[in-house]
Amino acid sequence: MRKTPIMAKAAALLAFFAMTPIGANAGTSDIDVENAWSRASIGTARPGVAYMDIRNAGDDPVSLVGLRTDVSGMPEIHRTSTDGSGVSSMAPAGDVMIGPGEVVALEPGGLHAMLMRLQAPLREGDSFALQLLFSDGSEVTVMVPILGIAARGPNG
């Protein structure tokens, strides 16, 4: 079958994404993202979550200032903290500064991408695109694989 122009364009786009490593930089800053993962949700009533390691490979500090994804109507970086008496609390983290050469870990019990107002259930085995928005105006798109609801880390 002959490809119509639009199909050719779609095929080229697909080829582009296929060659682009996960965490590829769509902007100008030197950000690498590794070990991204999420947990499956039960329906859409409860918020979802995403975790990953974000490395600033550049020479200047940069701040993670926001998130964007189709799966959530209100994605935010939140921080869980546990005080000396064992009480856990969670609140928006605000801007997260990443110094040159530093890695910020979004991990259980600490910083995490909180995916409120899920637009559809997060299904185990699927993945979704999450855009990280940085203070220098750059954006990094991360493909986040959805693991089981009981997953403890990027390897399950």
Binding site: T80, G109, A150
Partner: protein, 173 residues
């Protein structure tokens, strides 16, 4: 841990409902060692992590863990109905039971376990819960033995559970 520890189970008087609709109270736990923790199913971060950690500890203990009561008590009874608890605990280790009740019933249980909890409004009319995230261990006589802090590594957690399993004495600590 601020010197706060749960009172003995036999001094408690809470009454709750488990995720299969059965009435439960402190007597449900006495006679077997118990592991009890508080959380809420709308928590995306700490609570699934705690439930997964516990599932891992139970797997590590293997047949030894069969004698253990494992109970997750919600501190968010408005959203965590019996049905919500049943749906949620089903995704984790089959030994884990989910208990809920009215706000008054949950308040009493939390007070007896010396658990602190607070409802925190968030943007858009939602709310989250601050709560004690420790896991409490009781011996078969119902005495508090020790607590496992949030996300404590298994090499510390599993021996603590083993100690509660083996502790037959009436009064420890």
């Amino acid at each position: 841990m601020d010197g706060l520890r749960p009172i003995p189970l036999h001094s408690m008087s809470f009454r709750l409902t488990d995720h299969e609709g059965y009435d439960v109270d402190p007597e449900t736990l006495i006679g077997h060692p118990s592991m009890v923790f508080f959380g809420f199913t709308f928590c995306p971060d700490v609570c699934p992590t705690t439930l997964s950690d516990i599932s891992g500890w139970l797997d590590a203990l293997g047949p030894e863990a069969q004698a253990l009561n494992v109970v997750f008590i919600t501190i968010d009874p408005e959203r965590d109905t019996v049905e919500a608890m049943a749906e949620y605990v089903g995704y984790f280790h089959p030994a884990i039971r989910g208990w809920t009740g009215s706000v008054e019933q949950i308040s009493r249980a939390a007070e007896e376990f010396r658990v602190r909890w607070e409802k925190i409004p968030t943007e858009g009319g939602d709310y989250t819960m601050n709560h004690t995230a420790s896991v409490f261990l009781f011996n078969s006589a119902g005495r508090f033995v020790s607590a496992i802090d949030y996300h404590e590594p298994p090499e510390f957690a599993v021996p603590k559970i083993r100690r509660a399993l083996q502790d037959k004495k009436e009064g420890t600590k």
